[in-house]
Assembly symmetry: C2
Homo-oligomer: 550 residues x 2
Amino acid sequence: MKITVAQLNYHIGNFTRNKKLICNAIEKAKSNGSDLIIFSELCISGYPPLDLLDRYDFIEKCNQTVVEIAKECTGIAAIVGSPTINKNSEGKKLFNSALLLSEGKIVFCVNKALLPTYDIFDEYRYFEPGNKFSVIPFKGLKIALTICEDLWDEQPFDNEFEKKKLYTVSPMRELKKQDPDIIINISASPFSYTKTEARENIFRGKSQKYKIPLINVNQTGANTELIFDGASIIVNSKGEIIHRLPFFEEAIETYSSEEIFSGKLLVTKTKPKPIELIHKALVTGILDYFAKTNFKNCIIGLSGGIDSALVLCLAVEALGYKNTRALLMPSRYSSESSVKDAVALAKTLKVHYDIINIEKTFITFEKELEPLFKGTEKEVTEENIQARIRAVLLMAISNKYGCILLNTSNKSEASVGYGTLYGDMAGGLSVIGDVYKSDVYRLANYINRDREIIPQNTITKLPSAELRPGQLDTDSLPEYKILDAILYQYIELQKPAESITGEGIDGPTVAKVIRLINYNEYKRYQAPPVLRISSKSFGDGRRMPLVARY
Amino acid sequence: MKITVAQLNYHIGNFTRNKKLICNAIEKAKSNGSDLIIFSELCISGYPPLDLLDRYDFIEKCNQTVVEIAKECTGIAAIVGSPTINKNSEGKKLFNSALLLSEGKIVFCVNKALLPTYDIFDEYRYFEPGNKFSVIPFKGLKIALTICEDLWDEQPFDNEFEKKKLYTVSPMRELKKQDPDIIINISASPFSYTKTEARENIFRGKSQKYKIPLINVNQTGANTELIFDGASIIVNSKGEIIHRLPFFEEAIETYSSEEIFSGKLLVTKTKPKPIELIHKALVTGILDYFAKTNFKNCIIGLSGGIDSALVLCLAVEALGYKNTRALLMPSRYSSESSVKDAVALAKTLKVHYDIINIEKTFITFEKELEPLFKGTEKEVTEENIQARIRAVLLMAISNKYGCILLNTSNKSEASVGYGTLYGDMAGGLSVIGDVYKSDVYRLANYINRDREIIPQNTITKLPSAELRPGQLDTDSLPEYKILDAILYQYIELQKPAESITGEGIDGPTVAKVIRLINYNEYKRYQAPPVLRISSKSFGDGRRMPLVARY
């Protein structure tokens, strides 16, 4: 018997595309003589479909697409993921289902029992948990078919306050009673650089515990914030990974059941380092945001600083230099070297760039506001005006030429509100909004690994917003090394203030940083969607009340 | 026996304030000789605390506050709502609990069994459902204590696709077995103008079905988007409302058990009309956003159009004319009457206003962009520049004088993306972002009910963004009457395109409007929080994927 794993890149709601992707893979599997092809969770609708699941017409289209795909399953069976209607009189209206298609029909349906409802997941918003557990007989094999979280009944969380057992049910404990031969897990498991190991350990643990092999099929590609890394794996009955599919790439691979059950190592590339994965994730995130919204071109405000330099490099990798343009907008406070560094980078990358000095526009605003501001000191207001003039210019180009403005704020800035709403916080997509400044440096060095692409001066100079004479980030903020250590403990680990520790960290600094984080929720509320690479990214995975005091 | 209902306005995470509010009410109830005082759901933490619930330090503070309040309960018992820790080894880490406090101790704990996880609710994100049901013996009474959704096991939804029975459990069916004398329901039930009747019907239905009286205690006041209308009610055993507490106001009222059990009508004001409730809701929403973020002053861009006129009136009602300022920013395309109408309104309301013509700034931008835009036609880019210049000016005043910019976009515009991101879509709070244009007119007329406050010309003239010569909204959009009818059916009722019908509505128009709604998700993603008055508001209650196609 042969089994095919299809690790593909789906597009939410794009039924034509998803169907074509799936049917092409079925064709390929057929031509390889495969008996069973496995697709990932909710591959029919794309993941996460969010509130589209509340629409009857959307569910109808899912059903119809499944029926059409089933017709292609002749001489081969397929496992696909789709929402299905809960026909019971009580409970949520849908199930998150895995469907076995064979000879034109749906021959088996498994409903996801454990519905992740934390962080970026909202599955109980839509789905009723499945509560029937039964292995699937398939050509002499008994398959324990599970859907993603179904295997995560025990899991580690970064937040120590979380329980390790979130659920009162364990699907595998139930399925074990029917003595399965293999576990198949279809998933839509987004990338987080701290979780790749933990995820593999979940699968390895289950194989080991139940002494049977496991095939996990994940999707790849990005849907707005969420980036799926693929990296589907096959684990033998001892809990060893015998094969891993590529990270962030589509792949359709067929294995013989002997290969899977023998438990011997198949040929697999070594696992990339975290920084390499983050880099790939961000490039994938940009690429798919553009591909799936049907945009080709982007614009970036290039300051000569490290954040915009990094974003420009990532954009060029994702979209190509011909589809990337830069705008330099120096002011009276911009250093000469900033402009020089920005120009050098644009030239190295062959990116089209323009320069508009914002001085005249800034003066015009100052004059217009003079009667209202008479007798006041210059302060952050005037700094914000500069940042907002830049956003007006960037958005004008975005509107005129149909290119998406890429936002260049990093996670450290976004955390403490060191940015201007409708100014440098503008953009269609925040590329590095989940990357702490310390990791921005790591990524910049990674990009320069073979040759100097980002000018060394951009990397080594002291960070500055250049919105007033001689300004440095450290005028307002702790050193990034200290800041990032505090942020990580407060945001990712959710530690109480008094438990946040480390070199150079003291109580008053922690208190100040936490105050800034909390105070600036209102700014982040209006920030662009952020490509997620961590276990706790700003956006849908972190929901904070605005008018709270704590 | 005497029972006190405390309908109060809590602030999320502000434990000092919430405790004081609760303790003052306990004092008042004591002085009225009350035996039991009832507060609303999660009154200790404020509702909704969202991801603050993931923080151990936050939960510790809740626990501590409960302990402190319990000490005040001498000679009186109190029912309060608080998150409590789930001590079982499995399941979510918290319960959403109702605690009976008496003589310094927590004497009874009920855990919410039905956890709303739809629309704006995310309770299963945090809480494990309670699964034990037991009446509380209290001074000879057997109380069926329930928490909000616990009584909503059957409920009507605007979306026909939803099931009427979302849950497989009915807490009252379980509690009935223990023969309770009265139902007490503590809730945090946000206002929606279409739901006030439905909500009362839920309570009336339960009283009628189980033939016992019911006391519902809701909170009042707003926390960012969510506005709670109070309107706690007492229902007799026949399902008749015998008393209703005021809408959108705090109230502490004590009743004798005879009054409650006799089932006779107590003195109650008549229920206000929907438009009056919407008006009160919006004023409450503004008021509490400012009060709870510790801001006093607001700024509004006043165009002479009806939207900004309405928002100015609401702001003045909420914050007072001395704390409200307006900025008029005419351009070459502004009609004379617009400026005249805006000035007239500001004068009527005694609001400080300034005028800055944006012509010079606009010309400066045009000049700076000339080299980049050579050979292109003027189109929406240039319109957006004007809107964004206005945002820069408004935000400059906001920053300089510490006043919050109130956004004036209505729901019709927001739906179809008829607005400029970082332009007229800017602001700290969207006041009428959940009010369709048709209702904007209704509210304007309501404000003018006694005398002309909003100039009649503002109400009667044809709507225009005034961003190009002779521009009218109907150049790009259907008439608002038709547009709003389509929007309501698509957004609130979630009807498929082919089921959207009504006077003047045809297929191509429906298709165009739906295309605009879907296409503009990315704009709404970055919009300010919207005061919610409907059953489906933009913001947290409606979560749409951005890179989807459907």
